[in-house]
Symmetry: C2
Subunit: 233 residues, 2 copies
Amino acid sequence: MKEPIWTRERKAPPRETLSREQIVKTAMGILDSEGVTGLSMRKLAARLDAGATSLYWHVPTKDDLVDLLIDEVWGEIDVPEPELAGWRSGALLFGHSMRSALLRHPWLPEVMYTRPSLGPNAMSLGSRGLVLFEAGGFSDHDIDLAMSSVMSYVLGTVSAEVATREMVRKSGRSEETWVSEMMEQAQAVASEYPEMQKSVRRRTSLGLDSSLTENFVFGLDALLDGLATRVTK
Amino acid sequence: MKEPIWTRERKAPPRETLSREQIVKTAMGILDSEGVTGLSMRKLAARLDAGATSLYWHVPTKDDLVDLLIDEVWGEIDVPEPELAGWRSGALLFGHSMRSALLRHPWLPEVMYTRPSLGPNAMSLGSRGLVLFEAGGFSDHDIDLAMSSVMSYVLGTVSAEVATREMVRKSGRSEETWVSEMMEQAQAVASEYPEMQKSVRRRTSLGLDSSLTENFVFGLDALLDGLATRVTK
DNA sequence: CTAGTCACTCGCACACTGTACGACAAGCTC
DNA sequence: GAGCTTGTCGTACAGTGTGCGAGTGACTAG
């Protein structure tokens, strides 16, 4: 009579092997710190002390790997239960949670717009979002319109924010000197675009961080105000 | 006495040469039809009957070329003069114009979030937008907050829309069969995500196009409603 | 103990990318 | 003619994703 596997002892510790989780995790590290162009299969493999093509046993293609990484990010986003906060502050919280996830993983905008990406975490996120807006009293027809307008707003704003921060980073300057250089440029073309100059000056008075946060909050607030008038129940 | 140039005849027609405009134009064609991955310097050169490296005399790098292309798209977006329509319908028009430009050039989202891109058309667009909102009666402080929330909303929504369309295209199925396949998938995981199922069904009843347009309009309307309450003057 | 079958690793090779370099040519001004 | 500017392009290099097939360690059946 054969003894079942889980009681039987292993003769020797199992061979150390790569795992999909491990690959995803270190790929995430590379992506977060070096961006999309910094991630190559060879570099990833090297960091795992493995041959480049070994990865392909665990992951079909690089694109699939990126899909896994995207879904990982969706998994980091909170959606509060509606009974805890009400839909409005729930949506606000959701927006902020989504923003901070995107700021932690600034590579996401440049890859997410070319691919399906309907992994389990994305599904769960979408589902929980819909629950929130349903509880908020939107009509059946409006629930996912409301939900997806909030998601799109956050996505767009934070993508733009990430692009701005990227601009600063690439310039190699510090934040302050970058802002002041922008000011100079704005001065130079002031005659052509007087409005832009005012805008830059307005943003300069706050720091870059606060200015971007204010931007995000202002629009989200306005959008939620607009959505509030569409609550019917 | 030397005769001025414009009266002097050319001895021979000038040598045919590449031009930046020409390069930009055919690159735009490739990008629009084959997407970002379809654009390579060699392919672009081949389509111009030129050697690959000849392009580098007219354009410093491929990235710079893409920057030119992005600014070209910004140039296609209308912003109405405020006195023609008022800020609200002006903003609506602007949003639709921006949307259709992005739908014509669906490659834009995947490249715009990694780079500066403050070309002349972008500047002019921003400036005209600010004029519109200023005339709308927003406080000095709110003008560019309002403006950029609209831009971000449109950007985010249409980027997501483009991604959806890309999904359909890549699947190789027709629009209808794709939608019904989505329905099946939704049925399959219905127990886990009942909300998603409802959402998919709602979208299925309209066509894909109308559903996406409705989505866009709904959120933009809500956002503008919210912004309207912030008009002070 | 041997033979066989999985699960997994990895070197090589291929086609492709952006672009630096330097040789070359055509047209213009002296 | 000489010399300069403008422009073209072949070659080469370092890098990419990944298909293929050989190889290896751990396990099981006989």
